[in-house]
């Protein structure tokens, strides 16, 4: 563990530099411990924390507190996080329409990995992914790990416009783009379920620690789900299985 400087209003508690569920468990343990301390009226001046794959960033108001005093106050919480067990997130089975216009890179990925498009879809949709962190864009989930057979570097030419809902892979990670954005990942398909809605109590659909699997659906089924979701006739929670309810 080391503490990295991030200016006069933040610092990062770094537990390692790999993508590893054990590191994520320590990050989340410290995150939860800081949240508890703040609820108990401690750690004045902390504005928010940002959990990532391997580090927890603590953002503070330099007018209210100082790095040195926060670091001292966090010492015991950081030590305790070193022995954290992995936490159980929610389980999601999200619909995915693979290929054609929704997955313009499916054929290229198949060619680059020496698989058929069907085998790519099968490998991607039969793997359970962990949500490591949210970031880059509101609600954007960094999920892993993609099966070794599908792991490719990012595209050499990033796209200027990746459509919202795009399901993409790069290196050992997979993601769903909540917004239209530039992007360098390979697009395999599209998910109709909105990942971010500012009017929901929890605006991001997914949370770090959640588990996600994709269920292939036809283009017709995608259109039906998309229309019903946009009309407010479907609740995205229907794709969530409460912990403990799995067979």
């Amino acid at each position: 563990m080391r503490i990295l400087d991030m200016g006069d209003a933040a610092f990062s508690v770094e537990f390692g530099d790999a993508i590893d569920p054990a590191l994520q468990a320590r990050v989340n343990a410290l995150d939860v411990a800081i949240e508890h301390a703040r609820s108990a009226g401690q750690l004045d001046g902390v504005i928010e924390t940002v959990p990532t794959f391997r580090s927890l960033t603590v953002i503070y108001d330099p007018l209210q507190t100082r790095r040195a005093s926060l670091e001292a106050a966090l010492r015991d919480l950081i030590a305790a996080a070193d022995h954290a067990p992995a936490s159980d997130g929610r389980h999601w089975r999200l619909p995915a329409c693979y290929g054609d216009a929704f997955g313009p890179d499916l054929a290229d990925v198949a060619a680059a990995t020496d698989l058929t498009p069907e085998a790519v879809i099968n490998a991607h949709s039969t793997t359970e992914y962990v949500v490591y962190m949210l970031g880059f864009l509101p609600g954007f989930p960094f999920m892993g790990d993609v099966p070794a057979a599908l792991q490719l570097p990012r595209r050499r030419e990033p796209r200027l416009r990746v459509p919202p809902g795009s399901i993409a892979i790069a290196t050992g990670l997979t993601a769903i783009y909540p917004w239209e954005s530039p992007g360098g990942w390979h697009l395999l398909g599209r998910c109709p379920v909105p990942l971010f809605d500012a009017t929901r109590e929890a605006p991001a659909l997914l949370a770090a620690g959640d588990r996600v699997r994709f269920t292939p659906v036809s283009a017709d089924e995608f259109d039906r789900l998309d229309a019903e979701l946009k009309a407010g006739q479907l609740d995205p929670q229907q794709w969530c299985t409460p912990v403990g309810a799995l067979a």
């Binding site: 990295l4 400087d5 991030m6 200016g7 006069d8 209003a9 933040a10 610092f11 990062s12 770094e14 530099d17 790999a18 993508i19 504005i47 928010e48 924390t49 940002v50 959990p51 990532t52 794959f53 391997r54 580090s55 960033t57 953002i59 330099p62 007018l63 100082r66 790095r67 040195a68 962190m133 949210l134 970031g135 880059f136 864009l137 509101p138 609600g139 954007f140 960094f142 909540p178 917004w179 954005s181 971010f196 500012a198 605006p203 991001a204 949370a207 770090a208």
Partner: protein
């Protein structure tokens, strides 16, 4: 109820407050005014709550028209203004409030030394989205329909009771010194000679400079080795200076990504972030390193001088006509305006 019509948004204008806190963990940046100091001064001049939403303007060209009654505005930032009335136009300096009668126009002609001006509007209120009215266009949050202002937009405001206009007697003076940074979090990803070059060589502000960040040009920085060009993504904060594989730094600002996979060589300190955001394309900057504790002291000193400025806001003498004192003060500071030049146009 009167309304402010945006006749022209100029280069870029959007509604901002101090931004939304607490949502970076789900990828939502703070957004908010790039120059919160200007937001607080403008709101105080306008008679608003100091943290009320206001209009952030880039580079001038903005035109605002009062509709269905009077509208009180206030402008903070080094900007040249024109007040268009039925009788003609008059030039004004910023750092003051101004009440437009129905149908009158305020033009932000150009900004001076910096790119930013904040126009506060008396009684402007916008719905809070995730705790803030700040516009974050990429996710369509806040502001007006989640986007930057466009010609023809109308904002409903409260019609002001007659009151003396306010001004800031001694506007803050620009600081020409280097931009101060705290090295890290990934300074160790760079060759030692390159770290020295980062703190000694000049960098130029490119045209790719907006609310998300500022791309710099200059002698490319060199990563320690090929593996050091990327990191496993971690969090980024406003002020973070990320260096992608091409070696050219990008300073992240209020709308910048919350996480990223490029190493970050340093972080611009809170007190100097606005000084960077204000710089115009083509200008050169240099960086100098300070410690975390020094940077915290500088943040407190900056807040102290802002409080002094807020306390220096007083009723404007000779309300309703050009304030020659303020004009000459600005003239001395910026050397841009000749106070006599506009007499012919003065109503």
């Amino acid at each position: 109820m009167s309304a402010l019509e945006i006749r022209s948004p100029g280069a870029l204008a959007s509604i901002q407050d101090v931004g939304r806190r607490g949502w970076r963990r789900i990828g939502v940046p703070w957004a908010g005014a790039l120059a919160p100091q200007l937001l607080r001064i403008a709101n105080t001049l306008a008679g608003n709550d100091v943290l009320a939403p206001a209009i952030e303007c880039f580079d001038g060209g903005q035109q605002f028209v009062a509709r269905d009654g009077a509208v009180r505005l206030a402008v903070a930032g080094d900007a040249q203004l024109e007040h268009l009335t039925a009788d003609g136009k008059r030039s004004l300096v910023a750092w003051r409030s101004l009440t437009l009668a129905d149908g009158e126009t305020l033009r932000v002609v150009t900004t001076g030394a910096g790119r930013l001006a904040v126009v506060a509007v008396f009684g402007l209120d916008r719905p809070r989205v995730l705790g803030s009215a700040a516009t974050y266009a990429r996710a369509a949050l806040g502001g007006l329909d989640g986007r930057a202002l466009q010609a023809g937009d109308r904002l409903n405001v409260i019609e002001p009771a007659p009151a003396p206009e306010q001004h800031l007697r001694q506007p803050p003076t620009p600081d020409a010194g280097p931009i101060r940074v705290v090295l890290g979090p990934q300074a160790d990803h760079f060759a030692p000679a390159s770290l020295d070059a980062f703190l000694s060589a000049p960098f130029e502000i490119t045209a790719e400079a907006d609310r998300m960040g500022v791309r710099l040009a200059g002698e490319p920085l060199v990563h320690r080795d090929a593996a050091a060009r990327e990191i496993v993504s971690d969090a980024a904060v406003p002020g973070a200076i990320q260096v992608p594989g091409n070696g050219l730094p990008i300073v992240l600002l209020a709308d910048g990504h919350t996480a990223g996979g490029y190493p970050k060589i340093a972080t611009v300190i809170t007190a100097d972030l606005v000084r960077l955001a204000e710089r115009k394309p083509g200008e050169q900057i240099r960086f100098v390193a300070v410690s975390v504790a020094e940077a915290e002291d500088l943040a407190r000193a900056a807040e102290h001088s802002l409080q002094a400025s807020l306390g220096d806001i007083v009723p404007l003498a000779g309300d309703g006509v050009i304030d020659l004192d303020a004009l000459y003060t600005c003239n001395l500071l910026s050397g841009i305006i000749d106070g006599r030049e506009d007499d012919g146009d003065t109503a």
